[in-house]
């Protein structure tokens, strides 16, 4: 370091932490291991500090030298070179939060969005990994609270429940499922069906009123059973909770951890599945239909109907498939016609009519 640099003086404001009487514009210079503060007005020496007795805090456009022992004694300087020169003199001195390069800002933006993307992409895989290891009993205990919530909106029809049970028995056959699947019919006009935690499948009245054959009901049931069996519901809950937790951690709001109610679980559980999960449920559902001797025609009719509806936009059907695979992907999955007829028949005409009006509404 040159003598000129070493002897450089810095203008700033000194304060002794006791009274403003001794505070004011001052000059700071260093002499060997000592820092000398002099009054700008009178050149009188105000303080003499040892280098090892001070710490420096550096921020954009401001540096604050503080005495470690004499509490309250400080020197505020706006010269950006002061911390660099003093750091050369004493490398252990400088610490702070100074960051002021534009390229660094751009770099940080890229890192930030990369990190967000990484969390977003890995959330599905991580959530599925964890979900497969959650015991089925735990998921069922979650559904017991949810059942109360679902029951409030469900409607009862002995005949419709019997027909749905019959289709379910046909689909399940001899399979050993992880869950005792329960189907509830909701008195909601929305065209929708959900898989909920613990093996509960919710069919909306609006959905049953829109189907054109029992095969379409079987197709949707098979699809939803696959969501249950592949633990997509638990995976979605875990993913949503994980993202909510990351969000809370980043922004410091932990109030959401205090409030947990069935309504929240319901909204998490009915959050749409990923496209990958939907495709996987489609494949498993088609296999179930084949093994149960049920025609793929219902699957094709129903899912292509809603795919086209989505492409036309604005329909009630949109709520069901907003993350489902495209119609061309589904066509490849389903295979080419003609499909075999269901043998034996799934439901008689009278049974299907009862299914179409599950809440015994006067039509």
């Amino acid at each position: 370091m040159s003598e000129n640099t070493a002897r450089r003086k810095f203008l700033g404001e000194y304060a002794d932490g006791q009274s403003t009487a001794n505070t004011g514009q001052s000059l700071l210079e260093h002499d060997g291991d000592e820092l000398i503060i002099r009054s700008l007005e009178t050149n009188e020496e105000r303080q003499r500090w040892q280098f090892q007795e001070v710490e420096i805090e550096v921020g954009p456009g401001i540096s604050v030298l503080r005495h470690k022992v004499l509490t309250g004694q400080q020197f505020i300087c706006h010269d950006p070179e002061m911390p660099h020169i003093f750091k050369k003199q004493n490398p252990a001195l400088t610490h702070g939060f100074h960051l002021k390069q534009t390229h660094l800002a751009i770099g940080l933006v890229i890192v930030f969005f990369g990190l967000v993307a990484l969390i977003w992409l890995s959330a599905n895989t991580a959530a599925q990994f964890v979900a497969l290891r959650v015991p089925a009993q735990w998921e069922q205990s979650l559904s017991s609270k949810l059942n109360e919530y679902v029951t409030k909106s469900s409607c009862e029809s002995v005949e419709a429940n019997r027909v749905v049970g019959k289709i379910l028995a046909r689909l399940v056959g001899q399979r050993q499922l992880q869950f005792d699947v329960k189907i509830k019919i909701s008195n909601s006009p929305d065209v929708n069906a959900f898989a909920l935690p613990g093996g509960v499948i919710l069919l909306n009245r609006g959905f049953l009123q829109q189907v054109n054959s029992p095969e379409e009901v079987a197709a949707v049931l098979a699809h939803e059973i696959q969501h249950v069996e592949q633990r997509h519901v638990m995976s979605t809950v875990i993913r949503a909770s994980f993202i909510a937790m990351v969000w809370s951690v980043i922004f410091g709001d932990m109030s959401s951890f205090i409030m947990v109610d069935p309504g929240l679980i319901h909204s998490l559980a009915t959050t749409s599945f990923s496209r990958q999960q939907e495709a996987s449920a489609d494949l498993g559902g088609l296999k179930m239909l084949d093994e149960a001797g049920i025609s793929r025609q219902g699957f094709k009719d129903f899912f292509l109907k809603i795919s086209k509806s989505i492409e036309g936009k604005g329909s009630d059907w949109a709520t069901l498939i907003n993350s489902h695979p495209s119609s061309s992907t589904r066509m490849k999955m389903i295979g080419s016609e003609p499909f075999r007829e269901s043998r034996p028949k799934i439901a008689e005409e009278g049974e299907f009519a009862a299914l179409k009006n599950p809440c015994n509404l006067k039509i």
Binding site: G17, S19, P60
Partner: protein, 328 residues
């Protein structure tokens, strides 16, 4: 007692202004670094991030040619958060023990509800506690700021005023808002300097009633004009000083149109940049504050003595942060 400034209208009066020197890009970099490190450290850095932002904002704010400094530490905030975890854990444990014990789930829910209600009642106390903590970690010319413990008085006024405002169909609001401003204001200390508020509880009754009707008739557009009127009244009755140092009166030049313009500007900047402009919006707000609020009078800054105010812990600030109460 009315400070001397009321009588002293001589030409010897001076202006004491605020000035903010921070740049948007600097604050943007700090906020970005805060977010990234908070993610990487699974939230632990949150407390250091908070301190970084406060240091930047405090150190770039100048009053009467001297900067404010923030001396709080992240460790204090971290310890406060851990204490809060402890309090929540005890509350949850009590409810769980009652529910699983002989008293049953209903009693457990009742106790849980009472604990939750108690938290709500504590909110005014937390607001004062957080301000006391922050002021006690703020220095100006090496003098520590602070606030006397007025949590109990503020809480009583907050809850009582809230109930009375509802029962009086809003007529009590003038007195309520007066108390909520006066109590913290008169308890702030800047070494031996203190704040004095000479406003009257019912002076704003007519403006409040007028604002009620005009807000309805203008679909809310009158609100900025009401806020400006309140701010001008409060400022013109707020003084800083002491018997030995003299007094200066706060002045506020804000108009309703300025506030409306500022709010609209903020809204547009945030929406059209998807939130990326937040640091610039915060800094713009601070500059807006500095341009429109200042002190006028005759104050001797050369002999302010350090006070012996207590340095409260960060628990109230930490709880407010954890529950996102929005203390500011």
């Amino acid at each position: 007692m009315q400070p001397d400034i009321q009588q002293d209208q001589s030409s010897t009066q001076e202006f004491y202004r605020f000035q903010f020197f921070g740049q948007g890009m600097d604050f943007f970099v700090i906020m970005l670094k805060n977010i990234i490190l908070t993610i990487f450290t699974l939230g632990i850095y949150h407390f250091w991030a908070k301190v970084n932002s406060r240091k930047f904002l405090w150190q770039n704010m100048e009053f009467a040619s001297s900067r404010f400094l923030y001396t709080g530490t992240a460790i204090e905030l971290l310890i406060a958060r851990l204490k809060f975890f402890g309090i929540v854990a005890v509350a949850v444990l009590i409810v769980a023990l009652i529910s699983m014990g002989g008293l049953g789930e209903t009693v457990g829910m009742l106790v849980g509800g009472l604990i939750y209600f108690a938290f709500f009642l504590c909110v005014p106390y937390l607001i004062i506690g957080a301000w006391r903590y922050r002021l006690s970690r703020t220095t100006w010319k090496g003098i520590q700021l602070g606030m006397m413990d007025c949590g109990k008085e503020y809480t009583m006024s907050f809850i009582g005023g809230y109930i009375l405002t509802i029962l009086s169909f809003g007529l009590y609001y003038s007195k309520w808002s007066h108390d909520l401003y006066r109590i913290p204001c008169e308890n702030i200390r800047m070494g031996t300097l203190r704040f004095k508020y000479t406003g009257k509880p019912w002076d704003l009754l007519v403006p409040c009633i007028k604002a009620f009707f005009l807000t309805i008739f203008t679909l809310g557009f009158y609100i900025p004009w009401f806020v400006a009127e309140m701010a001008r009244y409060r400022a013109s009755h707020t003084f800083i000083g002491s018997e030995t140092n003299g007094f200066a009166r706060m002045q506020c030049k804000l108009t309703g149109g300025q506030i409306l313009g500022q709010v609209l500007l903020q809204y547009l900047l945030i929406v059209f940049t998807f939130g990326l402009a937040l640091p610039w919006v915060i800094i713009n707000n601070l500059n807006f504050f500095c341009e429109n609020i200042f002190f006028q009078g005759k104050l001797d800054f050369s002999n302010i003595q350090q006070s012996n105010l207590a340095r409260p812990g960060a628990l109230a600030d930490g709880i407010g942060d954890a529950l996102d109460i929005g203390i500011g």
